[in-house]
Symmetry: C2
Subunit: 287 residues, 2 copies
Amino acid sequence: MKDINQFTITQAVKDSFRTEEGSRFEQLLHGLIEHLHDYTREHQLTHEEWMRVLMFLYDCGKISTPERHEFILLSDVLGFSALVDMINSKGGATEGSNLGPFYLDDAPRKALGADLSDGRDGVTVLVRGKVTDNLHNPLPGAIVDTWQADASGTYPIQEQAQGQDKMDLRGVFEADETGRYWYTTVLPKPYTVPYDGPVGELLRAGNRHAWRPAHLHYIVRAPRMASITTEVFFENMEYIDNDAVFGVRKSLIAKLRPVKKGEDLGVTTDKKPEAVVDFDFILAPEG
Amino acid sequence: MKDINQFTITQAVKDSFRTEEGSRFEQLLHGLIEHLHDYTREHQLTHEEWMRVLMFLYDCGKISTPERHEFILLSDVLGFSALVDMINSKGGATEGSNLGPFYLDDAPRKALGADLSDGRDGVTVLVRGKVTDNLHNPLPGAIVDTWQADASGTYPIQEQAQGQDKMDLRGVFEADETGRYWYTTVLPKPYTVPYDGPVGELLRAGNRHAWRPAHLHYIVRAPRMASITTEVFFENMEYIDNDAVFGVRKSLIAKLRPVKKGEDLGVTTDKKPEAVVDFDFILAPEG
């Protein structure tokens, strides 16, 4: 190893890890070493630049908490998270998109037609659709787990100190015997990802904003089907073309339209909706 | 941007940063995005693997302090630091090697011939050599700034709580009018890089040890010459062929030999040496 130079060091580093040949760990580690070394060589990184990268990571570590994970945010704004979502979306199924930091796995079950707004101001929207497999067969009893921001772009979980209930604007619905789900809620607003840390500095250095278009979060699952984690966006809404975290896909954009006077919406709801969004989820088989 | 897929997202992310065209910042950022995205696509990273990487970085952040910088350590064990040293070594000059975490920029000036051991046990070694430019012209008054571990592989700065003086085993020497420097010290021993954190876990997962071969650290500078940060190792010593941080270069290995009975060492020293190491430093002009 003492004869290494800037071209042979990459193989030496790979060889230093005595991993199981052909294992996934070896592939991922070798690939990472190759890309990092190639990057360093191609750009002839100086010591100052190298230290800048390491101090950036250090600063990301310092600001991180279990609730504020700056490395996930970094991955988000560099499109790395979206790319992993894309790679792992199954053909024929609804495309995946960001999980985000606000999911809770114990949100309350609610009856179809319930209202999630918990008295919050805003436009009342009926969200409805069906859950099917990729051959259009309905999936009765499919679980539609949703969470969202309010009409000011805030998640109740962010405002617990101000007395909000973190379980507000969340619900877990079970699709009916025809695979249909429906509920009402308030129309969410755009909000920014946190930009008071090193990732915010990176965005400013690149003249980028921190806004996400308004969206609804979903995890949808059914027995023997691969679950999907995704988001639903609204046509023509602000930031739809430049989401700070690259979460928007064309197939995830729904049309928001006003309820027509006297319109039969075909479902019963606890609260009278002013607007409607239709969005169907398609799940592909597991494996 | 809403039409992006796993192949077009890379360009979309690059375009989202509105950087000065052709600037160094743009080049470094675009290069990093390309490599990270290529890596993700080539290896079809799953969500679990992606989260494992991000949690690893999170854990590195949590254990880091200004004195214990886990990201530098990560860079070291992946050969990234060594590669930056190699890339930035100037042709004709002494090769660069790791700065390490223990440098202090205010170590005491010492007279040529001084002993750095401060009463510590161990083999007393005379370290001597000359500092020249790359045309072999001596550089009188060149500064040789050195620091090292003791004969148990510990830096005094690590043992301040046990009453050690952090300035021990350090010294800043000024080369004489012929460019020569000399001093005595104790022969250092190998030691491990910290392996109680996430980087240690990575080493264990790859069946790697955490040892560095014994070495002396140097920063050498002279007016109008590019400074060098490097390390000097000892021929045939333990771990010389598998330094955990890839710091060893063939050109940085010195011969350690016993002082012969009645040998004229050509220099006066405060303490009588038992062994000698000769090592010359070559500086290249700045710029």
